[in-house]
Each structure stands twice: as structure tokens, then as C-alpha cells.
């Protein structure tokens, strides 16, 4: 419960930003409730002027009716304004939370992003916040007016006839007891429901996201079976949650019926004793109805709110994830690196139990080409993670232009790198936008020029709308190699002092690759580059070839030297021609 309280407190903090709207909403809620309650009195008064045949005071009735019409007008306007404010507050708060969650995502360490299921993060930022805003809206519209209505009716009833009012006051709370009894017993069912929902969302994200593989294996039936299994469970849990929670309403309505009957009896008796007029009974009955109604709604809202709080909790949990350590206040802004890179006694592992890189040393002079080769899983990509400072080293240090990279602002450090990764990522957007990703201000000419250098121009021209063709989610119809060409064009447009190519041309045909290499070569003059590759043709001309195995450099030198040495590199090099 205390956890819920913390969540509620945080929600309130967000709401505080909309103070004006909340107060306006409250004000108009109060007005509309007061007027809504006052109108039945007037109607009752009106009816009191209708006594029987030939005894109807039309003048008085007219006056009363006129007042009613005016008040009703005010009420409806107040209601509308209140609704507008509520919408504004809820959707606004939801937006703030959503934006904050997303901004947070941009600051999370890679370690978090790499080790958490994307489906789950997506569902927190999208689905949970959506649910949260639904619940919040209901809370706002119904809780406010509900509480105010209860208070208001109470006052009005007391002012008409205290005795009968007491009857109402005594009976109604029973409905709350019933409601909270049901709520308590359904909460666990709701929890089960949302857990199962999470499960099914995760399965859907995984399978629909990789639909092509599923089809390739003709695995549809198996997947369907798994889906059915979760879906059946979801059905079961939902049925329970939905049914049991929906018993609240009839139960409380039944209690309201009792209240109504109670008022009827006491009203009748009082009327017989002449303590109350028939018009008053009418107003009273209608109050009794209005007084009990919010109890119904509040009990309904409570479940919604419970759900909203659970969702908010999940989002906050995400927002509370530790961010990347901030840049030091005195961090250097590395303007334009000369390209000198040093790694000294670097230790690193993703998982403390499994040692990966141990005492790694490397010194790269400005303008050198470094190639990293080695069997898969030997830690080549890890070196890049460290150079880019996606991960921080455990021990030792990495220096760029003589500065420890932890003392350089991340932004300026990364501005000095141009990176092409094996896993091509393109944004959904036009081809031109994608090429200009690293340099959004680039002109169309520059974009085309970069594409030409990356040998992407030809295929782009053939696309339906050329450079303006929108690439659909996940790259759509582009082949892996075409995607890589676009990623290369993206870097061509930036010309950074240090270039990192992690298997950047693995899916590109070798003829194009050689041309691209030449282009790179031209562009890399005087620039430092790190190239991870399997194709030894790609790396033959490197100044230093690092041969890695199990996180360590086992050989180091240029192509000729390493061949002569007849070591691991020699084996690797010859294996590529083996069958």
C-alpha cells in the first residue's frame, strides 16, 4: 500500500503542473453539482403548486420553471468546462509521463537496452501510459463530481428533512462496504489479468515482429498453439476479473433500491404526520437517487484507478532506471581530434562472472588504419562498444587525443567518430532523411554525392520515388546489402576524424566493396580508422592488424609480417580459400 502511496504522490506531482486546470475543473464541478442538486428542489416546489383540479398556481410555476431553465443552462456550461479541463489535465499528464519516459530511454546506458526485452519497454511506454490516462480521466470526471455530489445531496437532504436524511446516510455506506469487499477480492484477479496481458503482448511482439522467420519454418501452427495457450489463460483470467468486478454495480444498485424504499416509507409516514409535503418527497427521492449514484461510480472508479496506479507504477519503475553517468562538469569538449587513440590495460566484461577482455593495450597513431580480425565472439565488437563509450571499461583507460574518454563529453567524443555497424538500422522515413541522419542540414546535392560515393545512387534512382522513397519499418524491401550502402552513405556525409567500420560491408558484393574501399581510402586520408572484418581482402592494407582471440590480442602487425610469422593469422588467411 505504501508503494501505491508513493506512486500516487508522484502522479500528483505531475498533476501540479496543471494546477489552474485542476482548480477550474473543481470550481466548475462544484458549481455544476450544486446546481444539479438545486434544480430538483425547484421542481419539487413547482409540483407543490400543482395541487389538484382547479388548484394550480400557474404564475408561480412559470417563475420557478423559468429559473430552472436558467440554472440548467449554467449547469450544462459548467459541466462542459469541467470536462474540457479534465481532458486537458489527463491527456497532458499522460503526455508528460510518456515524454519523460522516452527522454529517459535516450539516456539509459546501453547495458540496460541490450539486456531488457524491447517488447516490455515498448509496452510500458505505450500501452501502460495509455491505460493510465484512461484510468486517470475516469478518476477525474467521476471522483470529483462523485464526492461533491455526495456532500451536496447530504446538505440538501438535511435542509429538507433531517430524519429521512439520517436514514439515507445510515444505509448508503453499506454499498461502500460491499464495493470495497468486491474490489479487494477482484484485485488479485486484475493482477493476474494484466500479467497475462503482458505475456501475450510479449509473445505477439516477438512473433509478429519476426513473422518472416515464423513463415519460413512453417511454424505458424506451433506459434498458434503457444498463442492459444496464453490466449485461453487470458480469457479465463479476464472472465473472472470482468465478471467479479462487474458484480459491484448491481450490488450497490440493490442497496440503493433499499435506500429508495427506506425514503419512501419514512417519507410516507412523515407526510401522513404532515411533516413534509409531497413535493418534498419527490425532491427527496430524487436526492436519494443522486446521493447513492456516486457511491456506485466511485466503487467502479476505484478498480479503474487501481489499474491506473499499477500501470503508472510500471512506467515509473522504468523512469527510475539508473541513467548513464553524467558527463563530468569539467569534461573536455573535444573539438577535432587528431585521431590518436590509446587503450591502456583495459579490462572489460559484460557479465562479471565471464571474463572477456583482459589487459588490452593498443596505441594508434593519427591516420593509421587498424584492422581487427578473429573468430566470432572474440570481442571485436566489444572493442567498438568501448571506443564509442557505449560501455565503460572496468579497469584501465581509453584515451583519444590524449584525453581519457571519460573526461570528454559524450557528445563531442562521438562527433569525432563515424560508425557503420553490421546490423543496419534505418529509420522509417525517406532515403534522403536516412542519408542525412548524421548531418540533418545537408543539402540534396551533398546527399546525392554521398550516395554516389557509397555506390547507392544507382539503386536509389530505381526506387519508386528515388530519394524521396519512404523506407517502411524495418527496411522493407531493401536487401541487407542495400541497407549497408545507405549506412555507409550516412557516414560519407559526415567525414569524422575517426572511422569505425564493424563488418560494414559484409553484405555488399566485393566489386562494389572495393570501390567503396577506395572511396573510404580517399576520405580516410589523415583519418584514423578501425575496421572489423572477416573478409581478409578488406584488411590486407591495414597498417596494423590485430588478431584477437578470446578477448586478447594474440598477434599484431601488418599483413606481410603476420603471414611470415605463420601463426593464427596465417591459418585464418588460408582458411578462406579452403573448401
Amino acid at each position: 500500500m505504501s508503494k501505491n502511496k508513493i506512486i500516487i504522490k508522484r502522479v500528483i506531482k505531475y498533476i501540479k503542473g496543471y494546477k489552474i486546470f485542476v482548480f477550474t475543473s473543481l470550481l466548475f464541478a462544484a458549481i455544476s453539482v450544486a446546481l444539479t442538486l438545486y434544480v430538483p428542489i425547484l421542481i419539487g416546489n413547482g409540483i407543490d403548486y400543482i395541487i389538484k383540479k382547479d388548484q394550480v398556481d400557474f404564475e408561480q410555476i412559470f417563475l420557478i420553471l423559468r429559473n430552472i431553465v436558467i440554472l440548467v443552462g449554467f449547469t450544462s456550461v459548467s459541466q462542459w468546462i469541467m470536462n474540457l479541463c479534465n481532458n486537458k489535465v489527463t491527456y497532458g499528464v499522460a503526455k508528460n509521463v510518456r515524454d519523460e519516459a522516452f527522454f529517459h530511454l535516450e539516456k539509459l546506458p546501453l547495458k540496460f537496452v541490450d539486456s531488457h526485452e524491447h517488447g516490455d519497454i515498448v509496452s510500458r511506454i505505450v500501452a501502460d501510459i495509455d491505460q493510465f490516462s484512461d484510468g486517470l480521466l475516469m478518476g477525474f470526471t467521476q471522483l470529483f463530481t462523485g464526492v461533491l455530489t455526495i456532500l451536496g445531496t447530504l446538505i440538501f437532504m438535511l435542509s429538507i428533512q433531517a430524519n429521512i436524511a439520517l436514514v439515507v446516510v445510515c444505509i448508503t455506506p453499506i454499498s461502500l462496504v460491499v464495493a470495497s469487499f468486491i474490489a479487494k477480492h477482484t484485485f488479485s484477479m486484475f493482477q493476474k489479468q494484466s500479467a497475462t496481458r503482458g505475456e501475450i503482448t510479449s509473445l505477439i511482439t516477438e512473433m509478429i515482429g519476426n513473422q518472416k522467420v515464423v513463415q519460413a519454418f512453417g511454424y505458424e501452427e506451433e506459434v498458434m498453439k503457444r498463442f492459444d495457450d496464453v490466449n485461453e489463460r487470458l480469457k479465463e483470467h479476464s472472465l473472472k476479473a470482468v465478471f467479479y468486478s462487474s458484480t459491484t454495480n448491481p450490488s450497490t444498485r440493490f442497496i440503493n433500491g433499499l435506500v429508495y424504499t427506506g425514503v419512501g416509507i419514512f417519507g410516507a409516514i412523515s407526510a401522513m404526520n404532515g411533516m413534509i409535503t409531497i413535493g418534498q418527497i419527490t425532491s427527496f427521492l430524487s436526492y436519494a437517487n443522486q446521493y447513492t449514484k456516486p457511491f456506485n461510480e466511485i466503487s467502479g472508479v476505484v478498480t479503474e484507478l487501481q489499474n491506473a496506479i499499477a500501470c503508472a507504477g510500471r512506467v515509473f519503475e522504468f523512469i527510475d532506471e539508473q541513467e548513464e553517468t553524467a558527463d563530468f562538469a569539467d569534461a573536455v569538449n573535444l573539438e577535432h581530434s587528431n585521431g590518436k587513440v590509446e587503450l591502456k590495460h583495459v579490462d572489460f566484461s559484460y557479465n562479471q562472472k565471464i571474463e572477456l577482455i583482459k589487459d588490452f593495450n593498443l596505441s594508434v597513431e593519427p591516420g593509421q588504419r587498424i584492422a581487427i580480425v578473429g573468430p566470432t565472439g572474440c570481442g571485436k565488437s566489444t572493442i567498438i562498444n568501448l571506443l564509442m563509450r557505449f560501455y565503460d571499461v572496468d579497469e584501465g583507460e581509453i584515451k583519444v587525443s590524449g584525453n581519457d574518454i571519460r573526461n570528454i563529453t559524450r557528445r563531442s567524443l562521438r562527433e569525432n567518430y563515424g560508425m557503420v555497424l553490421q546490423e543496419t538500422w534505418l529509420k522509417s522515413g525517406t532515403i534522403a532523411e536516412n542519408i542525412a541522419y548524421g548531418n540533418p542540414n545537408a543539402s540534396m546535392n551533398e546527399i546525392v554525392e554521398a550516395a554516389k560515393q557509397a555506390y547507392a545512387h544507382n539503386f536509389i534512382k530505381k526506387m519508386p520515388q528515388g530519394y524521396e522513397t519512404v523506407i517502411s519499418e524495418d527496411g522493407g524491401n531493401l536487401s541487407q546489402g542495400q541497407k549497408q550502402l545507405l549506412c555507409i552513405a550516412r557516414v560519407m556525409l559526415r567525414l569524422p576524424p575517426i572511422l569505425i567500420l564493424d563488418e560494414a560491408t559484409s553484405s555488399i558484393d566485393t566489386r562494389t566493396e572495393i570501390k567503396i574501399q577506395k572511396a573510404f581510402h580517399k576520405m580516410m586520408k589523415g583519418r584514423t580508422s578501425f575496421v572489423v572484418a572477416h573478409r581478409l581482402s578488406t584488411i590486407k592494407e591495414a597498417d596494423i592488424i590485430l588478431v584477437m582471440k578470446d578477448g586478447k590480442i594474440i598477434e599484431q602487425g601488418n599483413h606481410e609480417y603476420l603471414l611470415e610469422k605463420q601463426g593464427f593469422y596465417y591459418e585464418l588467411y588460408h582458411s578462406q580459400f579452403a573448401i
Binding site: 501475450i200 513473422q211 512453417g218 490466449n231 553490421q422 529509420k427 549497408q484
Partner: protein
């Protein structure tokens, strides 16, 4: 839209009983004011306490019956709605699975995911409320009107005017807001897409220092969503105030007309009270109905989206389940095949003709975008050709059921994806009942044995969603093993050793050759060395076959092939 209603079929009984019991409940509720009239008109007038008590007991009994009816109704409604929701979810999922690559490319997975989750949930909630309230509320409204007629014709006409006016307004509001809510869901798709994209592209975004721009893009998508939500919300917000005004105007008119009728001695004061009560009851119902209508409008918008997806026809149409008996013929044959991606200007493949015999290894090589993957994607019929035909075992692929066709083929796609579960479960994707022995064999051929051996738990080691806890090369080898477990007649390796070093790649090829006496292997690669020893090499350039034959033949007479080889191998090696 009404297509979705077929899902009610299985819950016919519940869908009828729920509103019916609601209707009963409503009827009992309508009786209560009548009893009250009697208390006022007879009980109070005659000062008959006994009568008042009797009537009160009747009211309580009516209440209990109402409660029971309502509970029964809620149960059936919940059962029908939840069942309705899950069967839509199921069918939609199944439908998406039946879509072919063309539609998957076109629609994108983000929106499919929101439709399957958030939209279906919304429909379920909407349907539940519909069953619970939609019959009840109109029943109370019309019931109240009928009751009013039994009291006084003239006064009842107030009801006759008010109700249609409100109905028309409500309808208009719905018509206006359904498209808006649909837009809301579409904007939600966009938010989801950006979130997904930013997770997948986290490295590139940070490398290019675009976090701020991405955040801004997200914020603008988020603002856009809120704007549309507000538009919908503010329009829906008119509903309550409007009904409130209308009903109160009706009450005012009732009091006035009622007063006249009483003056003329046609009705009693108690009857005026009853009339006003009926009208108030309508108000209460309409307020509930307004809430329902807002929910329903959202649900309808979601229903539209789900329906749209359901109507999306798979471009590759599966044939009947009958088993085709393969004829004698080459394992795979292309006859003058042309292929075009949806929306593309130029053919991705044209005039392809070749034959691959059983047990042969076919190398496919060519420049980036020359159509290598497109070619192999036609064999398992991921796409349909636009001209010519593709034959497997002498039968056009269109004549097989997809199930039968794809069961023959093991494919290793470019993108190495594994699924959450144990390694064993992943390996069994190829063959449901594969034994550990078979799995180990496949792992060994795929050079993935040591990956598994080094994992805690071996075959029981857990793979995270999309295989995130494995490196690219490890994933690739496991996906190859997964295809091998199947022992397919046709094995397609679509550039699937790109993340492997040459030594591993060479070992892999050697291992695959040992098994391939009965397996036709398609090797798609950029590496000349990889395909050099294939029985037949197809050289693709710009969607056409520009050379076909063995390495020795091609090196002599195919210019493109020569260029490719010379770019990779030394002169001596080429010879």
C-alpha cells in the same frame, strides 16, 4: 465492420441472455416508481400505514429480483465479451500469420501489434458495455415513455419529442468522433513505432548524437496524439451537458403540461411526480449511455482498424490441403521467371531460367541488390512470381499447400533471429519432435556445437527474445543448425555466413557437403570462395542471370564472374 459480428456467433446464447436479463432487471426497476405512486396516492392519502408497508415489501422484492437478473446478465455479458475478444484476437493473430511477405513489408509490425493488443482490448470492453447497457438503457428510456403514455397521452408527447432529438444528437456526435478516435489509434501506432525504432537503433542514434532530435520527434508525435485525443475528448464532452439540458427542458415542459392537466382534473399530483420521475430516470440512463457511447465510439474505431487488417488479403494464396504427389523432375526449376516487388517500378528479377537437380549445390552470386535473395525467396513462395513459373520436384509451387511446400525447405534468412526459450526449443522449430541426438548432429554441422557446450545448461540454456544474449556469429550458426534439424530436401543459405570468419565458414561448407547427397543446397553469397565449388553457379546482375555453370566455365566466359573473383581472390586462386 459488421464482419466482426460473426464472432458473436459462438456466444449467441450469452449475447442474447445478457441483454435479456438486463431487460428484465430494467423492467423491475421501472415498476418501482409505479409502486411509489401508489404509496403517495393511496397510502398517504388514506393514511394507511399497513398499505405503505406492504408496498415497501413489494419494492424490496422487486429489488432482489432485479439484483439476481442483473448478476446473471453480468455473467453472460462478461463471458460473451471476453470470448468475443479472445476469438477476435486469435483470428487476427492467425490472419496476420497467413499474410505473405508483401503485406508484412507494407503494413509494418508496429501497427499489427497495437491492433492485436490495444485495439482488441478496447473492442472487448466496448462489447461488454454494449451487452450490459445498450439494451438496458434504451429499454428504460422507451419503457419510461410507454409508462408515461399509460399516465397521460398529452404529457407523454414530451417524451416522444425529447428522445428522438437526443438520439439524433448522439448519432451525429458518434459519426463525427469515430474518425477522430481512429486517428488517435493511428497516432498511437506512430508513438509505438518511434519507441521501437529508438530501442533498435540505440547505437546509431547515440553515435550520431541524435538523441535530442529523436526526443523532439517523439515529443511532436506525442503532442500530435494529445491534440487528437483532446479533439475527440472535447467533442465527446458535449454529450453529457446536452442530454442534461434536453432532459431538464423536458421536465420543465412536463411540469407545465402536467399542471394544466391537473388543473383540468385529468391527472393527479402523484401522477405528475411519476412523470417527472420517469424523466429523471431517463436522464440517469442517458448519462450512463453517454459514457457507453464514448467507449463504444472508441471501440468502433478500433473495430474498424482490426477489420481493415482482417480484410488485408494475403497476396500469396494458399491452395487446398490436398497433398501433391511430386512428379519426376528436377528438384528446383525456374522457367522464365519475372518478379516485381509491390510498388516498385522495375522488375527485381526477369527472365530467370535454370534447373537445380537433386543433391546439387547451387551457388548464387552477384552484386548488392542484384536479386539474389529475391530469387531464393521465390522457392518457398514467400512472394509470387508475376510471370513464368517456379517448380519444385516438377510441380508448380502454387499447386502445393504452403505447409507441404515449406516443409521440404530449410531456409536460413539473412537476419539471424532466435526466439525466447531454450536452445532446444529453438532447434525444434525445424522439427517438432527432434531428439537431442538429431539436434546435436545439426549443431555440429553448423559449427555451433561448442557455443551450446559452453552455455550453462547446454540445450536447456535460455535464449532471450530475438536471441539478444548471443553474438551475431553465434546467432547465425544457431539459425543454420535450426534449418538443418529439419533435414530439408532443399536447403537455402541466404548469405547466412556473413558474420562468420572464413575458417568457420569453410568448415561449415565442408560439413554441409557431407550431408547433401539428397539435399539440394542453395548457397547465396558475396564470397567467391564460398560458392566456388558449387555444382552450378548462377551469376546475377541487375535481376538477370548473366552466367551459369561451374567455376571453371564461368571464369572463362562470364565477365561479371571474372570481376567478382578477381576482386576477392588472387590470380592463382582464380585459376
Amino acid at each position: 465492420m459488421f464482419r466482426l459480428f460473426k464472432y458473436i456467433k459462438n456466444y449467441k446464447k450469452e449475447s442474447i441472455l445478457a441483454p435479456l436479463f438486463k431487460f428484465l432487471e430494467a423492467s423491475f426497476e421501472l415498476l418501482i416508481p409505479l409502486v411509489m405512486v401508489r404509496i403517495i396516492d393511496i397510502g398517504i392519502k388514506n393514511r394507511d400505514i399497513e398499505y405503505v408497508k406492504k408496498m415497501s415489501i413489494i419494492m424490496v422484492i422487486l429489488g432482489i429480483i432485479g439484483l439476481l437478473c442483473s448478476l446473471v446478465a453480468q455473467f453472460f455479458a462478461a463471458k460473451a465479451a471476453v470470448g468475443f475478444g479472445s476469438s477476435i484476437r486469435r483470428d487476427l493473430f492467425q490472419h496476420i500469420q497467413s499474410l505473405s511477405y508483401n503485406e508484412i513489408d507494407k503494413i509494418g509490425s508496429s501497427t499489427m501489434i497495437t491492433r492485436l493488443t490495444s485495439d482488441v482490448n478496447q473492442i472487448q470492453t466496448g462489447f461488454n458495455l454494449l451487452l450490459r447497457l445498450f439494451l438496458r438503457s434504451p429499454c428504460i428510456v422507451f419503457g419510461a415513455m410507454v409508462m408515461a403514455f399509460t399516465i397521460n397521452m398529452k404529457a407523454a408527447f414530451v417524451f416522444v419529442v425529447t428522445i428522438p432529438v437526443i438520439s439524433v444528437f448522439v448519432l451525429a456526435l458518434m459519426i463525427i468522433s469515430i474518425p477522430i478516435y481512429k486517428k488517435v489509434q493511428n497516432k498511437l501506432d506512430k508513438v509505438l513505432l518511434l519507441t521501437k525504432e529508438n530501442l533498435a537503433g540505440v547505437r546509431v542514434i547515440r553515435a550520431f548524437n541524435r538523441q535530442k532530435d529523436e526526443s523532439e520527434a517523439f515529443e511532436s508525435a506525442s503532442s500530435d496524439l494529445v491534440k487528437t485525443q483532446l479533439m475527440g475528448g472535447n467533442i465527446s464532452a458535449l454529450l453529457n451537458p446536452f442530454t442534461y439540458v434536453m432532459i431538464n427542458l423536458a421536465i420543465v415542459t412536463l411540469v407545465w403540461i402536467g399542471g394544466k392537466q391537473v388543473y383540468k382534473g385529468i391527472i393527479t399530483q402523484g401522477e405528475v411526480v411519476a412523470l417527472v420521475n420517469y424523466m429523471s430516470q431517463i436522464l440517469v440512463e442517458l448519462v450512463k449511455l453517454a459514457f457507453l457511447i464514448i467507449m463504444l465510439t472508441k471501440s468502433l474505431a478500433c473495430g474498424n482498424r482490426v477489420n481493415q487488417l482482417l480484410q488485408e488479403e494475403a497476396s500469396v494464396v494458399d491452395t487446398a490441403e490436398t497433398k501433391i504427389i511430386p512428379k519426376d523432375g528436377p528438384s528446383v526449376e525456374f522457367k522464365d521467371v519475372g518478379f516485381l516487388y509491390q510498388g516498385a517500378k522495375e522488375e527485381a528479377l526477369s527472365n530467370l531460367t535454370f534447373v537445380a537437380n537433386k543433391g546439387q549445390t547451387i551457388g548464387v552470386i552477384g552484386g548488392t541488390g542484384s536479386g539474389k535473395s529475391s530469387l531464393v525467396n521465390l522457392i518457398p513462395r514467400f512472394y509470387d512470381v508475376i510471370s513464368g513459373e517456379v517448380l519444385v520436384n516438377g510441380v508448380n509451387v502454387k499447386e502445393y499447400s504452403l505447409q507441404q511446400l515449406r516443409s521440404k525447405i530449410g531456409i536460413v534468412p539473412q537476419k539471424a533471429v532466435l526466439f525466447r526459450g531454450t536452445i532446444r526449443e529453438n532447434m525444434r522449430w525445424g522439427k517438432k519432435d527432434a531428439t537431442d541426438k538429431e539436434i546435436w548432429e545439426a549443431l555440429e554441422i553448423a559449427q555451433a556445437k561448442e557455443i551450446v557446450e559452453l552455455k550453462d545448461g547446454g540445450l536447456d540454456a535460455l535464449v532471450l527474445q530475438e536471441g539478444k544474449n548471443l553474438s551475431g556469429g553465434q546467432r547465425q550458426r544457431l539459425t543454420i543448425a535450426r534449418a538443418l534439424v529439419k533435414k530439408p530436401e532443399i536447403l537455402i543459405l541466404d548469405d547466412s555466413s556473413s558474420a562468420l570468419d572464413y575458417a568457420t565458414d569453410a568448415k561449415l561448407r565442408r560439413a554441409i557437403q557431407t550431408i547433401s547427397s539428397n539435399t539440394t543446397v542453395f548457397l547465396v553469397s558475396q564470397r567467391a570462395a564460398t560458392i566456388k565449388n558449387a555444382d552450378k553457379i548462377l551469376v546475377l546482375d541487375d535481376g538477370k542471370i548473366v552466367g551459369s555453370g561451374t567455376h571453371e566455365q564461368l571464369i572463362l566466359n562470364c565477365e561479371v564472374y571474372q570481376e567478382i573473383c578477381l576482386s576477392q581472390l588472387s590470380k592463382e586462386e582464380v585459376q
